[in-house]
Structures are given as structure tokens and as C-alpha cells.
Symmetry: D2
Subunit: 245 residues, 4 copies
């Protein structure tokens, strides 16, 4: 399994608090966690600042799953790169969308809705409950996962109804949020997972790392031929039961 | 629209607290609220203690929507009556299932799962958030509805994934719950709504009453022929565009 | 109910066959059918050739449902108009997407997928089967509707899994197609219905007209406030059961 | 992976045509095919005629997936065994339901609907189209699979909307059918697959065998604790980001 962890890599270079939590950048931190938990995976990283944001056709084509964290620079991603990501997902590449990347271009293109939500940066405690205990992404994950302090993300979250809903969060300020949502688009699988505010060390949490590892395994799938608009020319190759009995 | 409100009518006769809140029984209280909010509706009531629980074939056949509250006596409902309710729902009758009726026989028969959940009778404050603001059941309903004190119902709620998820609740004790869930089964529409513990006057709450009225309007539908197992004998009545242009 | 029927209006002006079937244009023909079947509706029309394609902010803002037929000129629709349609749908406007408008800009923006499919313009007979007999869009519609000759649209149809699947078509050439699909996006309801090739008079068919009328009624809904990204500032207005009992 | 293939084993003992096609019984034939295609699987069989139909608690508890074919003797399955199967599925056991087993007790208990459909035993040719090309059950399966002659199963198929729809069939007589349907119930995964009439050798077809092998792999999952109704007693084990950074 080949995993590509993409990071915006902006807060880490500007904000001392973030650099202290993630000295090598959030993308490198997440990549290291995945290497530990999914030993069979070949995990690489890419960032906004690289040519084509590190998402040239070959890089994307070689990935089974793309993990995406972005926030303040979401709109700096080139439209053609966002569109390339969308096409790769439709062709079967998995996509794991983290936290404020609900507003990233690829996710919004794939959802079709605004992907807006309510938020509050305060002292909320977040509890992440599993609502689908048999789901592979929930395997080995305690319910709830408790985050002592985390940015509040609250409903309404303007997304299409998820194809599978795995986690719902409770915030001590009173809100709720669909914090773990699966979508299938084309041949691709998409998982949105809301934890991950840059100024708290959520990606150090062992259970959050477990969710990421599970999500990557769930989302990985072989590519299939993209569905193209085409004139139909199939011809049935008949099969007669008499021939084989 | 013809609505039949069914009440177990047991707590009201045994528990002074409940009688004080609902002097005429929960079913009569809910029926009165619906009469006020859905003037076009013909709203009747029935209870466990009546012959066939007030759910003889004619009574059910004449209902567009059945509202169901039960708790302690859920298992006292006769199997053949529960099965009759199931068949009517499949044929198009709406069903609004309230609070502890998640364990009622008709709901469990229709869901196929255990319908179990976590619960705690304590001092929790419940906040009921709308997650689908365009849904007809959420129309005119503030988000959140705030209940100062209510029994906690928490995930995992063992139901099939709802066809439409309208409300999610936050409890001050930390839990979350899918508190407003739509299901379509056969030609029938089912709405499960969790508020309604017997010892607090939730059904006096104007916004809760608004949800009930919306739910009844949403669930009402004309009956259709039940799907029967049958040998196919259709014959196409051809239609040629030339004939009409 | 205010309905706006939008037609590309290109084939009608170029192709004698189409003009003979729809002398006033497909949009006027569909509008007239809706006026007959939904008497309470105020039905207007708009076309590609008008300023802003007849879809200025006021026109769209005043519509409860937009019906859209397009084909050869799908890409001539201005991006900002397509985006405006998308926003109105998210805010609650219904959208009925017909036939080759599976490739229209608004539908593709809302779906996020390619919306591609297989096709064949030949002598196929199409049979449109109801798979959800209780659905309001199927009310009064025979199953199957038989079209003696129609363009084949076949799977794979690259759309997100529909929130509700109403019709599936059988083609005599051997293919199948999900020909009636409901989607909910934001507060809006979208219905895709595949019949409607321009060179056969499908929109003269009484049962096809019945589907259009049902779809318009199903998709119409009041606008709700668009979900915006915003800092949360709610404060609970407590409700105490004691106050009302 | 441990697979248990359950066969009713009645037609095989009474009907010379069936015995000729499946000399060792349909269950043994299917088991042999699975052994060939899923080498890592431990595949066993059980039949109606065995004590507890071969489905004692230990046998079921030891299975990751149960494959079920039944027809004429569906109602001879003991209610307590059907209920045991239901509970095991809710706890995580996969279930693959074949052909006329749409009327089997376990499937009907899990669905909650009648599971009725239209049928015709005639000379129809069935074409099974993939509508979800990225689905693991469709991997390596040609689209369409062509069956020269097969019993017609047609819509309306009275099931809850499938959580994932993989295959739709076209019959030369004109009907359509959702022939490959995934459901998630509790922690279990259920796949219904309609091919398999006893008098034609469908389970000799290599592509049908491929679907069965894919389905078994898709449905297998570790057991999880059944969701029980219980008083909530969780206590959060706080996690503070500072502790690890």
C-alpha cells in the first residue's frame, strides 16, 4: 500500500506553538505514525510549497491513498491540481480528509455542497463516540475517544448524507458533530475525520493515530478504469449451463 | 389525514408523578397537541388495555399515521397485533415511534436489529440539534431544542443506518444520540424520535410538539398494494411517439 | 408553487424532426404539461439565449423548482450561472434534471462525479420500472412505463449513490439504467430522470408527464438559510418542564 | 477465514435434473468453488437435515461468514435457529444470501420487510450489470455477466434500500432486478445475490463463482460485542496534549 500524506505546511513555519508540537511538520508527524501502525505501507509526504504541490500526475497515480491536511492556505492549491485529485479519487484512489480540510478544494469539488460548519476555538472537551462498532475504521478504537481540549466543530455540517457514519462528537459547550464520515465517489473511498486542530497535539493521541491507520487501510483500493461517456458496443459472450454440467 | 395515537397507558395509572404531568394519559395529551397543530387531521387514540389494544384491522386500516409510545409493557402487546402493524406500515401507513418504544415489537420487527442503546436516568440536559435543516420534520424547529432535564439515551443505538438523519442530541453527561431518524420500509415511512421520558413533561414543550406535528405530516401517505410474491404476467401496452405528435 | 422550466432551445431551432415534435420548444411543451397537471403552479420558462440565460438572481430566487433540459450546448452555460443554480439548490430550490442534462454544469457541480454513462442511439425499447412503489414520484405511474423507441442510457452511471432510487430501466438491447434518482444536497432536492431524447416525443407521453408533475411537487420546498461557515454563538434558552405542568 | 456453506439440500435429493447438475448437492458444489478461489478459507458445509440444521451455537460462533441457499423448505428451519443466525449477524458474522433464500427466515428477520418479488420460470436470458465498479464484490467480474437461461426475478423487490447496490439485472422478458445488494446490520455485513436457480448450473459459471468468493471476503469480519441495552457507566480517561509533546 502506497500512502501519500499531503500537508499545507504553513502554520508549522509561522507559529511557534505549532512547531513545538510538530517539529517536522504535521505531514511528517502523521506519516511517521502511519509507518509505525501500517508496516506494509510505503508512506511518503508532499507539501503545498513543492512544484505542483508535490502532486504531479506520477505522484498521485502512484498513490493508493492520499491523506490531506489544510487550513489557512486551502485556496492556494491550484485548480488543476485539485481537479487532478478529484479525478484520481473517482478512479479509485482513497482520500482521507482531515480537520479544516473540509474546506479544501478537492473535498468541496467531490461533495458538491458548501462543506461549511460552525466552529469555536475555546476550551471545549471533545468526546468522539463510535456509532458503527462493526466498521473497520472503528476497530480497536475506544468509545469515546476523549480530547481534553479541542476546537469545536458543530452542526450543521453541510455535506451530502454520508454513505457510512462512523463517529459523532460531543462538545462540552453543547454541540454535536458528525466527526467521522465515509463517502464513496466513483471507484474511490473518502473518509472525513474532524480532529486535528494545529495548536493542540491531537495527532499524538494513540487512538487518533489508530483511526488514521484504519482509515488509510479502509480507503486503499486498486484503481479501476474511469467511467467515460461512450457509445455502447458490448456484445454478450453467451454462457450455456449445458456446456459445463 | 387520520392519525391514531397509541399509548401504553400504564405509567399514568401507577405513578403519581406521571399522572400529574399527563392527567388524561400521554396518548390523550399528544393527540390534543396534534389536533391543535394539524387542524386538518382527524386524531384518535387507542391503548393497550382495549380489545386488540385498540388496533383491530379496521382501526389500523383507517389510519394514515400511527403514533406509538410504550415502555414497561412493550412485551404485553400481542404478537399478531405487532405483526399487523408491521404489515400496515409496509402497505403505506406512517409510523412515529417515541422514546422507549425503540424496544416496541413493531419497531423491532421492522428494523431487524436489537434496537438496544445506552441509557441513564439522571440530571442530564439534552440539546437536540438539527443536522438536516431542509428536512420537512425540522421545519420551524429551533436548533437546538433545549431540555433542561431528560433521561440520557446514548450511542451505540443498534439500528440500521437511517435513510434520513434529522436530529442528533448532546447530553451534558457527555453522550450523543441519533435522536431523530427516518426509515422507509415497503411503502411506509417511519420516524423515530427519542424525547419523551414519562416523568418529565417533554410533550408539553412547544418545539417538541412541532416536531410531532411535522413528523405526522411527513409520514402520512396513501396506501399502496402490498408487494406480494407472484408469478409475473405483465404485458407492455406499447406507446409510439408518432401517435401523439 | 413557482416552477421555472429551463430549456437549452438549440435542437428545436436546427432540427426539423425536433421542431415537428415540439413546435414551441421542449421547454414550452413541458411547461404546458405541468400547467395542466399541477394547476396550483405558476410555471414560467427560460432559455439559454436570454440574458443570463434567463436565470438572473431574481428569476432563480423566485423559483421553488427549476426543471432543466440541456444537451448539445451544456457547456455554453456561463460558469457563474451554473454556480448560482448550485447555491440556490443548496438553499432549498428543487431541481429536476432531464435526460442529457446529466452532463449539465449545475448537475455535475452538485454531484461531484463525472456523471458519465453509456449510450446508444438505436431502436431500443425502454421499459421504466418502479422500484419504490410508495415514493411520491411514482404515484399514479404504471410500472413499467413502456417507450417503444428511445435512446439507450446504460450503466455504469457515475453518480453518487442516490439517496432514493425510484425507477430502473430495461432496454431491449440488454442494458439497465437507474433512470429515476433522488438526491438531497443542502436544503435542496434533486431528481434526475433520464427519458427525453429530443427526436422522440417522450414528453407527450401521459405517464412521463405524470412523473414530471410528481417530481416538481416532490422537489418544491421553502428556502432555508444557507449554511455558512461561522463562529458559533448560540446560547440555550432553557426550558423547564415544571414551568408548564 | 472460516466459511460455513448451508444448503437446504432438498431439490438435490428429489429432482434428477438438479442431482445431475450438482451431484454432491449445491452446498458441496459452492464450498468446493470457494475452496478453489479463496485458498486461505476453511470452508465447511451444513444442511437442513442435520441436528439443529448443522447450525448449533458452536458451529455458528466459529464462522466468519455463513452462505445460505434455500427454497422449498425455507419454513422448515426452526425459529430458534433462524433467530440464532440473526444474532450472530448482528454480532459480526457475515451472511451471503442466495437466490430464493430471499424468503429464508434469517434474511426476512434481518430485513423487516416481506422480501417478496416477481418471478417467472421461463426462457429468459439474464444479464447482470455492475453499477458500482469500484466495489470489492465486483472486482474481476465482467459486466455484464451473461446467463443464457435463468429464472426471472423482477422488481418490485420489497427490501429496505440497500446500503450498497452492486449489480442490476436485465431480463430478456423486459424486467429489471437489483440482483446484488449489500446491507449492514449491527456489526454484520449481508450480501444478497439473486442468481442460482436449482435447475440451471449457474454456480458452475466462473464469474458467478468469482462473485461468491468476493462476497465471502467482503462479508468476513471479526465479531464485536453485541449492543446490549444497558445503563451507561462510562468514565472518560482524559488525555491532555501537553502530556505527550
Amino acid at each position: 500500500m502506497r500512502v501519500l500524506v499531503w500537508g499545507e505546511n504553513v502554520h508549522e513555519t509561522r507559529d511557534e506553538r505549532v512547531r513545538r508540537i510538530y517539529p517536522d511538520g504535521m505531514h511528517e508527524h502523521i506519516a511517521a505514525a502511519l509507518r509505525g501502525l501500517v508496516p506494509a505501507a510505503d508512506v511518503r509526504t508532499a507539501t503545498l510549497q513543492q512544484p505542483e504541490h508535490g502532486l504531479a500526475a506520477e505522484a498521485l497515480g502512484g498513490a493508493d491513498v492520499l491523506v490531506w491536511w489544510s487550513h489557512i492556505a486551502a485556496d492556494d492549491v491550484a485548480d488543476e491540481v485539485a481537479e487532478r485529485v478529484r479525478r484520481e479519487v473517482l478512479g479509485g484512489m482513497g482520500l482521507v480528509v482531515l480537520h479544516s480540510a473540509h474546506l479544501s478544494k478537492p473535498f468541496r469539488l467531490l461533495m458538491g455542497t458548501s462543506c461549511n460548519l460552525r466552529w469555536r476555538e475555546d476550551e471545549d472537551r471533545e468526546l468522539i463516540w463510535t456509532v458503527d462498532p462493526g466498521h473497520p475504521i472503528a476497530r480497536g478504537v475506544p468509545s469515546p475517544i476523549s480530547l481534553d481540549r479541542h476546537e469545536m466543530y458543530g452542526e450543521v455540517f453541510d455535506i451530502p448524507a454520508p454513505d457510512e457514519l462512523v463517529f459523532i462528537s460531543n462538545f462540552s459547550g453543547g454541540e454535536v458533530f458528525r466527526s467521522g464520515c465515509c463517502f464513496r465517489r466513483g471507484a474511490g473511498r473518502i473518509f472525513y475525520f474532524s480532529p486535528g486542530h494545529e495548536t493542540v497535539g491531537v495527532y499524538h493521541h494513540p487512538s487518533i493515530q489508530r483511526v488514521l491507520a484504519n482509515a488509510v487501510s479502509w480507503a486503499a483500493a486498486p484503481r479501476v478504469e474511469l467511467v467515460e461517456l461512450r457509445e455502447s458496443t458490448w456484445s454478450p459472450s453467451g454462457w450455456y449451463e449445458g456446456a459445463r454440467t
